[in-house]
Symmetry: C2
Subunit: 448 residues, 2 copies
């Protein structure tokens, strides 16, 4: 419910949900369509949908003036618990909520963003979604993405399984953007032969901020989920700072490359699967090598061993630190420099052990060591330098791979959920299971 003051202002100006309003504040004027009040939005603010498609939340203040510019059709603004009847001519999409900024609101008291909105609220906030598909939504959990763990990935997979077995045409997972690519990669290994798209989507700005990207991202993810043939886990996020299109990224090859920009997500070492033009509502495919609907038999394989550490090679990294951790971990992803290098000297360790030797000892004790490139772009090659050849000889895994550090880490957890045999680990790691190793490098994808 709105606060008494705001309610009285709205009633004085006869403003109703769906009306085009002009709101004049001392230093700013807003024009947009009045959105319904959701349970969780601030009681002292109203929400306008601007012409850009974005929602803006406007705090009540005394000097504020509300005018109705034109009366709207107060269409389908229904409470969450009574979503409209299904239209049998439209595809069906389920939005599963796991938290993140896309389902969050600003907490006015503290000025920070908290996870809050439900998937139903998202559908209410973007009524256009319903023109595309019959959409249902439910919240699986409500977490900051940094708090999502292996156990949550398993729950998400089970929920996806439930939905696709029920015949849904596509699944959308809302998720915080910070670790979205980790979750996307994990689900790629766990959900084998998906029968329908599973599109992960988030937003870099919360939905009641003027610059929120959730509108375009949601529209494009629904288009991908119901209209595309990409039966894989993908990440659908803004392609540019503007609102032209979203990219649909392969889950195992994408990365958040900027702390705040709306186009933070980039495919690394490969092209995105597609561009989705949101105004045109069309999908432009950039690749054709994705898993398609109906290929293979769908099954879940969620076995994972989470006891893997990702460690950054850096000058003065002490071998002793690796030795200390040897009893703590079942696998190590070493984020190495260049083509795949670590210290070979003894300068940093009183016992005269190099990082290379520390890794050799780990491998000898049965703990696999997987390399990934600190440069992010490019491909490991342990064949160019003498130090690389030595690493290959001691059994370091990853020669020739162009995987991301994050993906190598997720894959090692998944592989270690299946075997403890070093030969089998090596074989599984070096086999392309979910697009994580590209056959060839596409030159134009560097920093693009």
């Amino acid at each position: 419910m709105y606060s008494e003051r705001l309610k009285s202002e709205l009633s004085k100006s006869r403003a109703e949900v769906g009306d085009l309003l002009r709101i004049t504040k001392p230093r700013v004027i807003y024009e947009g369509v009045l959105m319904p009040k959701t349970i969780l939005s601030s009681s002292s603010a109203l929400t306008l949908k601007l012409a850009s498609g974005y929602n803006v939340s406007i705090e009540y203040e005394e000097a504020m003036r509300i005018e109705v510019l034109s009366k709207g059709k107060p269409v389908e603004f229904v409470p969450a618990e009574s979503l409209p009847e299904k239209d049998p001519t439209k595809p069906s999409v389920v939005i599963l909520g796991s938290g993140g900024t896309i389902g969050s609101r600003v907490e006015y008291l503290l000025g920070s963003v908290y996870p809050a909105f439900s998937p139903q609220d998202l559908v209410l906030a973007v009524p256009e979604l319903k023109q595309l598909a019959n959409i249902e939504g439910r919240k699986i959990f409500d977490l900051f993405s940094n708090d999502v763990t292996v156990e949550h990935w398993k729950i998400l997979c089970q929920e996806v399984q439930k939905e696709v077995r029920n015949g849904v045409d596509g699944v959308i997972l809302t998720h915080g953007t910070d670790t979205m690519c980790y979750t996307a990669a994990a689900l790629s290994f766990m959900l084998r032969n998906l029968p329908a798209p599973v599109v992960m989507v988030g937003s870099q700005r919360s939905s009641d901020r003027g610059s929120s990207d959730n509108y375009v991202n949601l529209m494009c993810s629904v288009l991908t989920a119901c209209n595309s043939d990409i039966a894989e886990v993908t990440v659908c996020m803004h392609g540019t700072e503007g609102d032209e299109f979203c990219y649909v990224h392969q889950a195992t090859k994408c990365r958040k490359m900027h702390a705040s920009r709306r186009d933070a997500f980039r495919s690394i070492n490969t092209l995105p699967f597609a561009k989705v033009w949101y105004r045109e509502r069309s999908i432009e495919y950039l690749r054709d090598d994705y898993h398609k609907r109906g290929q293979g038999e769908f099954y879940l394989d969620t076995k994972m061993n989470p006891n893997v550490l990702m460690l950054y090679e850096h000058p003065n990294l002490r071998p002793e630190i690796i030795n200390r951790l040897a009893n703590e971990i079942d696998g190590l992803v070493m984020v190495a420099t260049g083509l795949g290098h670590v210290h070979t000297n003894h300068f940093n360790d009183p016992l005269g052990v190099s990082i290379q030797e520390a890794l050799e000892n780990l491998i000898k004790s049965g703990i696999p060591v997987v390399f990934a490139p600190q440069t992010l772009y490019g491909r490991l090659n342990l064949n160019v330098y003498a130090s690389g050849r030595k690493l290959r000889a001691i059994g370091v895994i990853g020669d020739g791979a162009d995987w991301l550090p994050e993906t190598a880490y997720i894959k090692l957890m998944w592989v270690l959920g299946h075997t403890k045999e070093m030969d089998e680990i090596t074989k599984m790691m070096m086999t392309n299971l979910a697009g994580e190793i590209s056959d060839r490098t596409i030159n134009e994808t560097y920093l693009a």
Copy 2:
């Protein structure tokens, strides 16, 4: 010395150093100027400088035919120990060698690259360098860049100090590319108020390969060292895959972003200082906010505490691992997600401790925790999300910084070399000392 067979082939065709030769092999023809044999190059190969400026090393084989297309002037091809007289009209530049591919040769027996060439050899291999400046070179050490540590940084600083106190116009440091930016950043904090440019240069392909970038990189670094006013530590490397220009990057803001491309080095969150057009031999400045010759009084400040660890935040990172390391380290750089986030939950730890709490305990015990962005691009902001505000409250350092993880790590080592007081550490870290924190983000630098 050449092998008997190669020597006899060369003498049969009357080929001498400086001659333009055509060498015909079964599947390839080379045309170029015969370069002098260096002590360390293979005895069964000769080196031609191609029209592109690159050197190519051609292995002797029986089916090979050597023709002299035109006799050259066998100018100034002198042994390393007798470099030409100084030209008093030209600036003076010293090349200090620390190893890396730029001073390396291919070991034909193993097919791998070993550090080998001396700085003198570099000058001999690129005689054009001497048209630009009086160049002297000496080897400080010969290391793979991963083996360069704090102690080597101190030695390099002392050698630079020696040279600039002797009045040299510029210093060039050859270095392996893998950790070049770590060394460059370290030297930036250690060499205060430099009176002359210190240009770090390397190459992504070894000098006896056809595609080597050392020719253009060296030429551009000499131009920067003797003709520019940028009295800072910079990194001078290929700007594009072609040979148009090199970028001169600010040491604290650049990063190797590709495992193998010649244009692997990129400025992050800021523009490079300059482009150096190598054919035109001209410097195009992109910024003017660099430290200039003659500003301030030069001094060395090489105190560093190398006992710092860089740790990547990732799902399922166990707080226990941080607790284990608490007695091992004097500082931690946490490469956090997004705007600066880590786990806040208790799911991953049997003792119910979150990463956030583990960091809080570290800080309480006097170990500073510095955040840096996993996204590389963008700026930390611990003010947007509730979890960020909590981190700021417990004393995490880095709110508002747009530094690279590698630079934050180097800076924390340097700061810990100067103080153990948390307040002072925080103050020094958050003060811009060597360009590591940009005042404003330049939008066009994202993935450029």
